[in-house]
Symmetry: C2
């Protein structure tokens, strides 16, 4: 206890008393985004510079106190909030939110880890560039959190995950040393890929304090279409055609099941949802064009004509204005909200090779219908990346809370075992955190888990970096 008080005292000296929070309402830092768990922090520490982060980590390491790095605290898997022990420090990067440099000729931007994603997008757009990472929480998530969890989002089909957009990192190690791996280099084969090891490690190996990210020229036009497809097989065929006809112009490909769309109509009646009544699935396609809107439209028409000839699209609308395009995307974005309105539900964030998704859904739907009669499937997601949010809603009229209480484990087990059968992943874009750490023990190969433990012990021998997340040693 006295060690803890001494630590807090020395932290106050390092970064200033106002930046070491121990009293008052700390909910924003200790409760996870989905409100599944509320922890207790020894203190919430808010350093203002990389050197302050290093000093904080050194002090915690000396005191043997563990650290939970936190960005916008918008994670989905309880990975950035402290446990209930009251012995962990929350290390918030939010005060480190400066853009360090934008290098137009090198197509890179270097930012502090605490920069909010949307602020980075806006800075780049004002300079005439696109920073393509885009996800629902972009108004509050930070680039440090995006990197720590290798966030995905809606543009992955063209630009990849956060990992693919990063050229270099600045990291404070578990020993409190600063690794300046910031780099605007597109080629650097001088040893092991430390950058990608920290990306997606969810703060369990060190603290990401800054990053150099890739930029792209702003597209001249962006068009959105909604297409009705007769089946998931047809949606996969459409995806293949879209790759051929639009090439890298294809920047969005989102599938939505009919029941998911019906929930949007039910709970947001003011929203117009075209095409869905007669279609088992609808697809939102986005075409980003570097030439002109006319060219984008011509490309879209070529694609949709070919798709209708092949029978993989039964009907389609192309947005005539940015407002219409936003409305089409808004349908997709409204699904999780409509689900919440419908009641508690069981969320999955799975990936399967694109070619096997239709069969996966057929098989898994049937298994669920058999084992959990009446359970309703809210199936939608980033089909272009093989990533489905294959969610399960309680039977109509049932007590959702009771249903979850009784069935969540069983439903997760059934879905994840089916994912294993199809060579998929139980966490496509949300990460592991503490929510899936036990499941990972059953769904990841023992050889891989063994290597992960060896790496964790090698880089964080004290085990103070976000313990109980990702992997247990």
């Amino acid at each position: 206890m006295s060690t803890q008080n001494e630590l807090i005292e020395s932290l106050r000296q390092i970064i200033g008393a106002p930046n070491v929070l121990t009293e008052g309402d700390l909910t924003a830092w200790v409760r996870d985004w989905r409100k599944r768990e509320t922890g207790k922090a020894l203190a919430v520490v808010r350093p203002g510079s990389t050197l302050e982060v290093a000093a904080v980590v050194k002090a915690c390491a000396a005191a043997g106190v563990s650290i939970v790095p936190q960005g916008g605290n918008t994670g989905m898997v309880v990975g950035s909030t402290p446990d209930a022990s009251g012995t962990q420090i929350v290390l918030s990067l939010q005060r480190m939110n400066s853009v360090r440099a934008l290098d137009a000729a090198n197509l890179t931007i270097t930012v502090d880890a605490g920069c909010v994603l949307q602020a980075i997008q806006e800075t780049c757009e004002q300079a005439g560039f696109l920073f393509p990472l885009s996800l629902a929480s972009e108004g509050s998530c930070t680039i440090g959190g995006n990197l720590g969890t290798n966030a995905g989002g809606t543009q992955v089909v063209r630009y990849g995950n956060t990992r693919d957009l990063c050229l270099g990192l600045e990291v404070v190690t578990a020993q409190g040393e600063v690794w300046n791996g910031l780099s605007g280099l597109r080629k650097d084969n001088t040893g092991y890929d430390l950058r990608d090891l920290f990306i997606g490690s969810e703060g369990t190996l060190g603290v990401i304090t800054a990053a150099t990210m890739k930029l792209y020229p702003l597209p001249a036009a962006q068009l959105t279409a909604l297409a009705a497809v007769p089946s998931l097989d047809a949606a996969v065929t459409l995806l293949g055609l879209a790759h051929r006809f639009l090439s890298s112009g294809l920047t969005g490909f989102e599938v939505m099941g009919q029941f998911a769309l019906s929930l949007v109509v039910k709970h947001f009646p003011q929203q117009r949802v075209p095409l869905y009544q007669d279609a088992p699935y609808c697809v939102v396609l986005e075409n980003s064009d570097h030439e002109s809107e006319a060219h984008a439209r011509a490309q879209f028409e070529r694609l949709l004509e070919a798709a209708m000839e092949q029978g993989c699209v039964t009907d389609a609308v192309v947005a005539e204005s940015i407002t219409q395009a936003r409305a089409l995307w808004h349908i997709r974005e409204s699904i999780p909200l409509a689900q919440a309105e419908e009641g508690l539900n069981i969320k999955h964030d799975i990936s399967i090779p694109v070619s096997r998704i239709p069969e996966f859904v057929r098989v898994t739907d049937a298994l669920l219908a058999q084992a959990f009669p009446g359970a309703r499937l809210v199936n939608y997601g980033h089909l272009g990346d093989g990533n489905l949010h294959y969610n399960v809603q309680a039977p109509a009229g049932a007590d959702a809370a009771a249903f979850l209480n009784e069935q969540e484990q069983g439903i997760n087990t059934l879905v994840y075992e089916s994912v294993d059968q199809f060579g998929g992943s139980i966490s496509a874009e949300h990460g592991v955190g503490s929510l899936k750490i036990d499941k990972l023990e059953h769904h990841k190969s023992p050889v891989a888990l063994g290597m992960m433990r060896a790496i964790k012990q090698a880089l964080d021998p004290q085990g103070i970096m976000n313990p109980g997340r990702v992997v247990r040693v």
Copy 2:
């Protein structure tokens, strides 16, 4: 010694005596590609399956004998041949050369590590897909070697390095365990990124036995242009315009200095080299188009007109036929051969942020001219990736062998210190091997080297995987 004989005997039992070579001419396996060093192998071992590789590694680990994994043995940094001790096993993957699966709907191909790059390119093209990795040694290098060294090549500006084309690996660990990390998944956030840790580790952490790689639709047309530019600054401006006008259609951007081109003219007089007499630099641009050749040509013309208006291009030719396009690329490919004809020279494979390359070349040219009067600079490379092959030729008429003997160390030191000043890398695409392992100690941050050593010890505690390469523990 008897242990060694027992090991060889057991290896013969594991994979068959004909696949354990200990006598005869083993030059192809023990001498490096650039003929800089010839080692001695305890044996050259050629397993035919992943399980055989695992059994070989287990046997070597039990005997404490170290292993040098080898693909096509086309590396540039002496990383895949044994040392002179005669105590190391060369583990050749060449017999493992099957295509395991091509998944058209998932846009992936899964191949054994020993598949020759060109064979993979051809298999994909016959199926209507592009596997974009392309480099000079593609006729003999293997995908396992490409992955082990994270090879670059001529299409990186659009498709990235080998790392960016890989979705999953199968690896035999230093303990002889098989990790099946083969995955056709574009999103998988279930723990540390082991895939990218093995990619580029040059066989020092384990043996890559298979991989799942990304495919792309074949472009409808590919056009090549040669542009004369008044300076490197102009070349960088042209690159920015090319990104804007061609977007991801820009699949090649190679710069060539006037002296480099003059060597091609001098030593290959049958080759026609346009434009170079009046231009300090020429650029080869490639535009891959998914619509049509007419569209590709129109795009190219838009770009070149804009570039001439801005003064960053003084003259340009667009190839009218595939033969002409090949001829333009052939000029670029002939530079290293022309250099060899001119005599021994000092090669560098460096990268610098694109925006800083012109200043780097100005500063470093001047330093070299001052310190090594008469030394001639053969400057060319993948400007689109910030990667220069900034090579140094002995003064005209000088004894090249004597010059190298006396000056190579000094010239390397000067160039690499300048690279450090500009935040660059001393090995952009060739890797470290044994050739640059000592230099890396001076040019990589101690914090990064410390993490590399910790990872090496964690995954290969016996130190039997390609010791003396990349990093010393």
